[in-house]
């Protein structure tokens, strides 16, 4: 990690670092805009009253005496005072050539030429202060002597105190409201971010407080919906670990349980052998011990095979094409001595190798070997002496079947239903040596390969038919 500082930024920093400046920025822009608009609106409103004063002044202008004159009723003066409640009001009535002038001398004229009858509003400086001026020109009626085409210009001006005060107070008001809104929004945002992230904090504390062997599911509680899949994933993972741990404990329990009996039998036999002085008796005892050891070894191997078959690390990625023909030959060859010992006819029923290509399934060779060995071994054990055991491979379009048949006593429906349970001995096996692991191992291996374990009694003549059916999905090895 070269940039831990950047990548480790907390969600809180990220959220607040973007939300807060963005919020403040948006509000400030809004304030700026409303400030501008307000100034425009205030100007428009005050200009209207200025235009009213202008009109009032205009109505009092007369040129009938031959000179320019303005009647000034007191009302007009009061009107003017109302126009600017706390500032100066100026007015100027003059001919366009400036030769006749009444009122405030030198009140500035607009830069643009005046259109008759249309008031023009503009800012200017007069007597050292900023004023807003409304100016209007109109033809004189009657015209002044020697000035036929001349116009009279009426100007009314007010200093800016009134509108400035108004704008300032309105701005101050809207600014204080906006500031309050900003502060409240910020508080809400900060509060929201903190509350939204609080469940995560709680989760962290929960995890930190856990003891090392606590694999119970993580409590989701009020965690946001977005985080829940993560928790679910963590819980699935934990459950897997819990299962594995349970399986390992189970294995240990099973192993010690299963090995205790043969070991105590061995101990008894050793004690017996040590007490005996007759060499023949001692030899018998040793032979009996050899049998017991053989069984114990077989049980050990089976338990290891079971544990390996249940290893969650097994995956299809390790699978390879297993040639069933070769596998069957190899297993049967290994078990021939045992079969011969019981006078059992161990037969094979395989597809004709000349006609088809080798029958393969996808899987792990050593596991399949283990499964088949168990099945054949079981069949040899349960078939009556001089009985018949057949290993059969059939390859159809939709499935490949690896079956083992015997002509033994078969299994009760109850036993068939519980065939996959470890250490359960069926009714037929009560007086036979064994740990009851065989079918459990086969079942586990079948599941690991996605195959089906079929157990049924052969209807005519009795005997058991056990088959591993590999459904042909997408065969990667055609």
């Amino acid at each position: 990690m070269n940039r831990p500082a950047r990548t480790q930024r907390s969600l809180k920093t990220l959220l607040l670092g973007r939300l807060v400046p963005a919020l403040v920025g948006v509000m400030l822009i809004g304030l700026g805009i409303s400030n501008n608009q307000l100034r425009g609106q205030v100007d428009a409103a005050y200009d209207r009253s200025l235009a009213g004063a202008l009109r009032a002044m205009d109505l009092n202008i007369s040129t009938t005496s031959g000179g320019l004159s303005v009647e000034q009723p007191y009302l007009l003066f009061e009107f003017f005072q109302l126009t600017a409640s706390n500032g100066h009001v100026y007015y100027r009535v003059a001919t366009e050539d400036g030769l006749a002038e009444i009122g405030s001398q030198g009140l500035p004229l607009p830069d643009k030429p005046l259109i008759s009858g249309q008031p023009q509003f503009f800012y200017a400086d007069y007597l050292g202060e900023r004023v807003r001026i409304a100016a209007m020109a109109r033809p004189m009626s009657p015209p002044l002597f020697n000035n036929d085409a001349g116009r009279v210009i009426v100007q009314v001006a007010e200093s800016l105190e009134t509108r400035r005060d108004f704008v300032h107070s309105a701005l101050a008001q809207s600014a204080s409201v906006d500031t309050a809104i900003i502060v409240i929004s910020l508080l809400v945002v900060i509060w929201s971010v903190f509350t939204a992230l609080k469940p995560l904090e709680r989760l962290k504390d929960d995890m930190a407080r856990r003891t090392t062997d606590d694999l119970s599911p993580v409590r989701a509680g009020d965690v946001p919906a977005e985080v829940r899949p993560l928790i679910d994933a963590v819980n699935v993972h934990m459950a897997r670990y819990t299962d594995q741990a349970r399986m390992q404990r189970q294995f240990l329990d099973d192993a010690s349980h299963q090995l205790r009996t043969p070991l105590s039998v061995l101990q008894a036999q050793i004690n017996y052998a040590l007490r005996e002085s007759d060499p023949q008796e001692i030899r018998d005892a040793l032979l009996a011990m050899q049998d017991g050891l053989d069984r114990a070894v077989r049980t050990c191997n089976q338990m290891l095979a079971l544990a390996r078959a249940k290893n969650p690390a097994l995956s299809e990625a390790q699978f390879e094409a297993v040639d069933l023909d070769a596998l069957v030959h190899s297993v049967v060859r290994g078990l021939l001595p045992a079969a011969r010992k019981r006078g059992i006819d161990l037969g094979l029923d395989l597809p004709d190798p000349g006609e088809t290509k080798p029958v393969t399934v996808s899987g792990l060779e050593w596991l399949l070997r283990e499964a088949l060995s168990n099945l054949v071994d079981n069949a040899i054990r349960y078939a009556p002496a001089g009985g018949l055991v057949t290993v059969r491979v059939t390859s159809l379009d939709d499935a490949t079947t690896l079956a083992v048949e015997d002509n033994g006593p078969g299994m009760s429906p109850d036993d068939i239903a519980h065939a996959g349970v470890r250490f359960r001995r069926g009714a037929a096996g009560k007086n036979k040596p064994g740990a009851g692991l065989g079918l459990a191992i086969v079942d586990t291996i079948a599941k690991a390969h996605g195959a089906r374990l079929e157990i049924d009694n052969r209807a005519p003549g009795g005997g058991l038919h056990v088959a591993l059916v590999f459904a042909r999905g997408e065969d990667p090895y055609p």
Binding site: S62, T64, S65, G66, G67, L68, S69, V70, E71, Q72, P73, Y74, L75, L76, F77, E78, Q81, N86, A100, E101, I102, G103, S104, Q105, G106, P108, A124, D125, Y126, L127, G128
Partner: protein, 332 residues
């Protein structure tokens, strides 16, 4: 022309004239480069006041160096007042003309933030007085008949003047209406571009009464325009051509409206220089030559200088303020 350019030009002028102040003085006491500021365009009452001082001081020999006239128009004296108080408060050679109108504006707060206490009032060298003028063929033969008509129907009598509302001409009209017992709010008043236009309107029958000043009325009468002067607003009759014009007081209406003309100097002008100007004006106004000059300019005798004038001006501004307030001209 904008105010800033007026001010800029004014300060440029001031800068060049003030630069000469320290030049060689013709007399030990005399401030160098004397200047009279007329706070208006040439040709008005302020120009007249300055010309009177220039001629008078030269004739009486009070000033050795020639005094120049500088025009500084704007706000009926407001620009010049601001220039002296804020920018050149200590120019000993500079005097600024003022009139009763200036004091009235000062009283109404039209000189910005400055008050009557911000300059040193130097002298009043003459006065004019308000007069009530009607057409010669007017039905009003005396103040009484005008007052009666005004009382009967205020809308029938239209006052006209060269000044606008709040000006000293308007004040005279309002005082007249008030004396007749007429609400000043109902009085009709028409502002003209100048006295001449108002008199023309009087003659055209557009106004019934012209509120003017004695000197102006005298000029009009001398010019051949047939007018009748109903009253003069002074406590006693004026000399010369006005000897047979009765005062308002004589006719039972207590209206007195003098309009003094004179000068002030900057607030930081030293006592010594102030004294020089006071003495110079005192001596000048004692000479018969000056009386003649003043008469030529149409002004009536009025001589007050130094502390006496200062007290009078401050008192007058206070009276004006009260008066303006009573007519609703002051902002609260």
């Amino acid at each position: 022309m904008t105010t800033t350019s007026i001010l800029r030009r004014a300060s440029a002028l001031a800068a060049c004239m003030f630069a000469l102040v320290c030049g060689p003085a013709a007399q030990a006491d005399e401030p160098g480069s004397p200047v009279c500021i007329a706070p208006a365009q040439p040709g008005g009452g302020f120009d007249l006041t300055c010309r009177l001082a220039v001629k008078g001081l030269k004739q009486s020999g009070e000033l050795k160096a020639p005094m120049r006239i500088v025009y500084m128009p704007g706000g009926i004296g407001a620009v010049a007042y601001d220039g002296i108080v804020a920018q050149h408060p200590d120019e000993p050679g500079t005097i600024v003309a003022y009139s009763g109108g200036s004091l009235l504006n000062l009283a109404q707060g039209k000189f910005g933030k400055y008050t009557v206490n911000d300059v040193r009032w130097l002298a009043a060298i003459g006065a004019d007085y308000g007069v009530v003028v009607v057409r010669e063929d007017s039905p009003y033969t005396d103040l009484e008949s005008l007052m009666q008509a005004l009382k009967e129907d205020p809308t029938k009598i239209v006052f006209g003047a060269g000044g606008t509302m709040g000006s000293q001409d308007w004040m005279k009209a309002v005082l007249t209406a008030k004396a007749a017992g007429v609400d000043y709010r109902k009085m009709r008043f028409v502002a003209f571009e100048g006295g001449g236009e108002a008199v023309r309107a009087l003659y055209g029958g557009h106004i019934q009464v012209y509120m003017g000043d004695a000197s102006e009325a005298f000029t009009i009468q001398e010019g051949g325009t047939p007018i009748r002067i109903l009253a003069v607003f002074n406590d006693k009759r004026l000399p010369g051509a006005f000897a047979n014009v009765p005062t308002a007081r004589e006719q039972g209406y207590d209206i007195v409206w003098p309009l003094i003309r004179g000068f002030y100097v900057g607030p930081k002008v030293s006592d010594k220089d102030y004294r020089f100007w006071v003495d110079a004006f005192d001596r000048m106004m004692d000479t018969p030559e000056f009386a003649k000059l003043r008469e030529q300019e149409g002004l009536f005798p009025y001589a007050k200088t130094g502390a006496e004038l200062d007290a009078y001006v401050k008192e007058q501004v206070k009276r004006y303020a009260t008066l303006a307030d009573s007519f609703g001209l002051l902002r609260k």
